[in-house]
Symmetry: C2
Subunit: 230 residues, 2 copies
DNA sequence: ACCTGAACACCGTTCAAGT
DNA sequence: ACCTGAACACCGTTCAAGT
């Protein structure tokens, strides 16, 4: 009675399950059941679970907005793009973990990479640095989303970490103790925005063309190196 | 005949399995079998799988060297410490994924946080910035290890990504196409070292006390902001 | 009271037997 | 030749029945 079963309908159902029930709520067997067939049938359309993961990821990434409202600085547009990427990953619990295990080379991942490279170039970042920078930026965003939303299970007692950090021994961990409030401060949004600024600033100041730190110099004093990237 | 069974022996055996066989090679049932008991028995010593994960992680982190050879710059020592952390995560396939899902508040994780905070302070980073910086640095390192070593399975065809990137359409993805060699260039070590320098540079230039970018300014020109943090 | 064998409710993947 | 029910080899967790 359902639609005639296809790669497409399998991916749609799988993403639906992931979005509504998290990583534990999606399985080949449940997808098969929802599509009113046996689990073995799916193997006619999909290589296995890990190919399905890749397909789900790219399907989800279609929702990322790569052309945010113009008329703002490239920095602002880059931050909006990465926020859109983070939002899409957050919308389907477990998608970020899945993204970390899957090297995204689907068309939608490429579309995001392309847009980020263009924005960095607009910011004066040379292509060699831009290539690595895109990896770094996307990895950071994926990781931070993966770190928070482990799953959809409400098993995370919000106070548990706070209690552990608060109880830290002043004698054994003086720096941690002194900064215990700072370690827990800030909303996710604030930390995300700060981290992006940090990484972006570093990218602009440390093009790949710049020499590598010679190990035994410096004393907190920043080096005179190229600010005018490329 | 085996040792009398304890939290400790369970963690030891679990970490042994993880190290030798990756995340798929470790399970509560296999640990129980190796310890010559039934799976239910473990629940007398451990709350469940996720507590075991946290215990394994902290046990593994004991091997991280937090006091690298002195007589070098704080930057150098910080990089050595993070490399040691990365090495420990890499040594047990799947440990990094597990670390992303587990908020590490065990004594060994605290020891690492403490050492990083001390090094950043030595570098002139204020405690408020240092607290967030430690999170960012550890998250990056954890994520990059998690991204590569998905498991111990040799299922990763090294050429697969290269082929996908090489085949990218010049018309649809001009920037990606132009930088396709750069996207694949460099060893893991080189990218790791570069990324750490980028993040560190950003941390030094963007203390939390600095104002937030006012959205519609800049043109790649860096701001005059404090290099001499705090 | 404590420990645990067996059961429960799941997995992904394979394959022989049917159409 | 193609599709798939049933089986295989696993999971984590629970619980009643034994000591």
């Amino acid at each position: 009675m359902k639609q005639p079963l296809s790669r497409d309908s399998i991916v749609t159902e799988a993403l639906r399950q992931l979005t509504s029930s998290g990583i534990a709520g999606m399985s080949l067997r449940k997808v098969a059941a929802a599509l009113e067939t046996g689990p073995a049938t799916l193997y006619a359309y999909v290589e296995g679970l890990s190919e399905l993961h890749a397909l789900i990821l790219d399907r989800a990434l279609a929702k990322v907005t790569v052309r945010p409202t113009a008329n703002t600085s490239w920095r602002d547009r880059l931050q909006r793009l990465l926020r859109s990427y983070a939002r899409v990953l957050t919308a389907s619990p477990g998608l970020a973990q899945l993204a970390l295990g899957t090297i995204a080379v689907g068309p939608n991942a490429l579309r995001i990479t392309e847009a980020l490279m263009a924005l960095l170039e607009e910011g004066g970042v040379d292509p060699a640095t831009g290539a690595w920078a895109v990896d770094l930026l996307m990895l950071y965003v994926t990781a931070i989303v993966a770190e928070r939303g482990g799953g959809v299970d409400p098993a995370a007692p919000k106070g548990f970490v706070a209690r552990a950090v608060d109880a830290v021994s002043e004698r054994d961990y003086p720096h941690v103790h002194a900064a215990r409030e700072q370690l827990l401060s800030g909303t996710g949004e604030e930390r995300f925005a700060w981290a992006l600024q940090v990484i972006l600033e570093g990218i602009l100041r440390r093009p790949r063309s710049s020499a590598v730190e010679p190990a035994a110099t410096t004393k907190s004093r920043p080096r005179k190196r190229s600010a005018h990237a490329r």
